[in-house]
């Protein structure tokens, strides 16, 4: 029943697919119930946001924005030679493009506010990333990052020490302590058989890793697989399929609207927008609640190519699609009734030194680690969320290695997929792979790591130096999980959304943003300029006064004692002008006593105005009296004035 006058809204199939009903994010029902992301701020960490575009301006949040490339508060994108800095603006449009403005498109969370952090348009270091991830982290609720290390099928990289520390700080202290929500795109390396488990941002337990499916629900050619993929949502596919329609920048060749936004870059912001809808109905969801709700509500769907597997907790996961397709309706209805999950519990095995050779396929090296009840006693960990494996392996061609992890239930995760493009001889040095495929399963039991060499070298060359297992989860029991699944299914009718049902929501912590006020270079330059200007004029005026006085002092009329005004012509100019232009010299005070002698004290430095005998007004007349009929000065006026001057 929602209708918008935005000209491109009918083409926005990802919002409401008229051509293939159901192939959309299922958001109109949520909008009908006034859930539009109100009160939530999503920040797009990218190459800038052109917030002057009319589809973004009303929803733009300057308070949540910053430009780390130019070090000033305005994240406007800078046109460049490649005409490429439209990326952030497009992502922002997907999230919060304003509806019913007869312009372009509509955002998923069109009632939310969108900010921009410009960080990709210039040299980028670990410390800059760390600043970006926590910038205005009490204002920005969700950080949407549609970027990452190269998707070239041979890079192994992710956040470095400071970036990792900032992600962790963000989930601990961000958003009044509920935790910043970091949404990352899983990567576009599909054509290079890349895998997002080689991307530390996707692999991180602190991020929501989002993949893409095309309008037919299939994995697009560019998409990557990985065991840490949480869910997927729509984006463009190959040429025959439609891409995402969204706001665009209007600089260079930009028109303010595009129908060509695609890649996992286009999927992540849609997920960020849906999470904004969740936070409107339940602002106190923690960063882990959001991950849980995604796991519980994402839907498996028919895709023959996808290796769907159902784990012990009843969750279906595939390396291509994560736990499945995101639905705004399911996410919001689940958020409405969600009570927070227990605290995060973790268990880490000792570093297990192996130094064992990795055999050629089809054989594989298998190493086991049993996690006993005793091991988990301390942390209380009962059911799993993320499972991480940190490995150090030497091998002359890293892409030949295949690593699989089997949870106690037998659920297999391909944590390190072979990569034909990766010929790097440096192997893995403490690289952490992770999987979400065992979510909700019991933590206790034996974990099995199987590694084999699928390369075509004739000899085995790989050595597993050491590895370490880390389990993340909570005290929830499998029964708790099943109960929660049932509760959510009962909410999917929308009854809680309709009845104005509301659970209590704690307000969160008051955490000061500690970044002191840093004067930006622009401000600094302005201050310096104003300062110089002020100094210059001060000097100029002082000189003028000084020289003015010197002239007067050296004037013959005044040199010989009290001033006698040269004969005033009858042509008095405008009285005011003449009076004002009277030079100041020593003179008598009204009582006739010479101000030089006794009587009124002389004001240091300033000559006292002359007392005028009648007719003694010539000087100023000759200088400033305009030609024309003049009235002699009236004594009454004169006296008053004379007194005033004296």
């Amino acid at each position: 029943s929602v209708h918008f006058n935005d000209p491109k809204y009918p083409q926005q199939w990802h919002l409401n697919n008229q051509r293939s009903p159901g192939r959309d994010i299922n958001v109109t029902g949520v909008w009908e119930r006034n859930v539009t992301g109100r009160g939530v701020t999503v920040v797009v960490v990218d190459d800038g946001v052109e917030h002057t575009v009319q589809d973004i301006a009303p929803n733009y949040s300057p308070e949540g924005s910053y430009d780390l490339n130019s070090n000033d508060p305005d994240p406007m994108p800078h046109p460049d030679a490649e005409n490429g800095n439209y990326h952030g603006t497009r992502c922002a449009g997907e999230i919060a493009a304003v509806p019913n403005n007869s312009f372009c498109a509509v955002g998923v969370a069109y009632g939310s506010r969108v900010a921009g952090i410009r960080v990709l348009d210039g040299p980028l270091t670990d410390s800059m990333e760390a600043v970006a991830f926590n910038k205005h982290y009490q204002i920005n609720d969700i950080y949407s990052c549609s970027w990452g290390p190269d998707d070239d099928g041979r890079t192994v990289d992710g956040p470095h020490q400071l970036g990792k520390a900032a992600l962790q700080h963000g989930v601990l202290a961000g958003r009044q302590g509920f935790g910043s929500i970091f949404v990352v795109a899983s990567g576009n390396g599909g054509q290079h058989s890349d895998n997002c488990n080689y991307d530390g941002y996707a692999n991180s337990i602190y991020t929501v890793t989002i993949g893409a499916v095309d309008e037919e629900g299939r994995m697009p050619f560019y998409a990557e697989e990985c065991a840490s993929m949480l869910a997927v949502t729509f984006s463009g596919g190959d040429k025959m399929l439609r891409s995402i329609v969204t706001t665009d920048w209007d600089l260079q060749k930009g028109t303010g609207c595009t129908e060509g936004h695609t890649g996992t870059s286009a999927a992540a912001p849609l997920a960020a927008g849906m999470i904004a809808l969740m936070l409107q109905v339940r602002p106190c969801l923690t960063w882990r609640d959001v991950q849980h709700i995604i796991v519980f509500t994402a839907t498996q769907y028919e895709d023959h190519h996808a290796d769907w597997a159902t784990n012990e907790a009843g969750f279906s996961h595939s390396h291509q699609h994560g736990f499945g397709l995101l639905s705004a309706w399911r996410l919001v209805n689940a958020a409405k009734i969600w009570t927070s999950v227990p605290y995060l519990a973790s268990y880490a095995s000792p570093v297990l030194k192996e130094n064992k050779a990795i055999p050629l396929s089809p054989c594989s090296l298998e190493v086991l680690w049993n996690v006993s009840r005793m091991d988990l006693e301390m942390s209380g960990l009962k059911t799993l969320e993320h499972v991480a494996v940190t490995v150090s392996i030497t091998h002359p061609r890293r892409g030949s290695l295949e690593l699989k992890l089997f949870c106690p239930s037998g659920m297999m995760s391909l944590i390190g997929a072979p990569r034909s493009m990766d010929s790097d001889p440096s192997g893995f040095d403490d690289w952490t792979f992770s999987t979400v495929r065992c979510w909700g399963e019991r933590a206790q039991g034996t974990y099995r790591l199987a590694i084999r060499d699928v390369g075509d070298e004739p000899f085995q060359a790989g050595i597993l130096r050491q590895w370490q297992l880390t389990l993340y989860g909570s005290v929830w029991t499998p029964v708790d999980i099943r109960d929660r699944q049932r509760l959510l299914e009962s909410a999917m009718s929308g009854k809680y959304l309709d009845e104005g049902f509301t659970l209590p929501c704690p307000p969160g912590l008051k955490i000061p943003e500690e970044d002191g006020y840093t004067i930006t270079p622009n401000t600094l330059k302005t201050l310096v300029l104003v300062g110089c200007f002020t100094v210059f004029w001060t000097i100029y005026y002082m000189l003028e006064v000084y020289l003015g006085q010197r002239n007067v002092a050296s004037h013959p009329v005044c040199r010989s004692g009290p001033c006698h005004w040269p004969q005033r012509s009858q042509k008095a100019g405008a009285e005011e002008t003449e009076l004002e232009s009277v030079p100041l010299c020593n003179s008598k005070d009204p009582a006739g006593a010479d101000a030089e002698g006794e009587g009124a004290p002389r004001r240091a430095g300033l000559p006292v105005p002359a007392v005028r005998e009648p007719g003694a007004w010539g000087l100023s007349q000759s200088r400033s009296a305009p030609d024309g009929p003049h009235q002699p000065l009236r004594p009454d006026l004169l006296r008053g004035r004379e007194e005033r001057i004296c």
């Binding site: 270091t125 410390s127 760390a130 500690e514």
Partner: protein
């Protein structure tokens, strides 16, 4: 996106290091940490560019403006890292290098 030289290159505008200083007990630890960072920067011939975002105890030390160019870089790098490695207040340090990041 980021610089073309890959991870081995210098930080934006010259060499820079991130350092993690040991927490101090008691009041106003932030100011003291700031002063410590200033002193450390001076000792290492760098400039304290301030705390890194919201990460308490982490500071960015950069080469002063007008620093000498590449021919000295290696010598400066070694000399600086020797100072940082020796300094008792430094818990961790890392030279800031360009990261390669791609839009998706």
């Amino acid at each position: 996106l980021a610089g073309t030289d890959g991870p081995g290159a210098e930080g934006p505008g010259g060499l820079s290091w991130a350092v993690h200083l040991d927490k101090l007990e008691g009041e106003q630890e932030e100011e003291t940490l700031e002063q410590q960072a200033d002193a450390l920067a001076q000792a290492a011939g760098l400039v304290n560019a301030g705390r890194i975002g919201e990460l308490q105890g982490f500071y960015l030390l950069v080469q002063p403006a007008g620093h000498r160019q590449d021919e000295q870089a290696e010598a400066i790098r070694q000399q600086t890292e020797a100072v940082l490695a020796r300094h008792e207040a430094v818990r961790w340090y890392s030279e800031q290098r360009l990261l390669k990041r791609a839009k998706r």
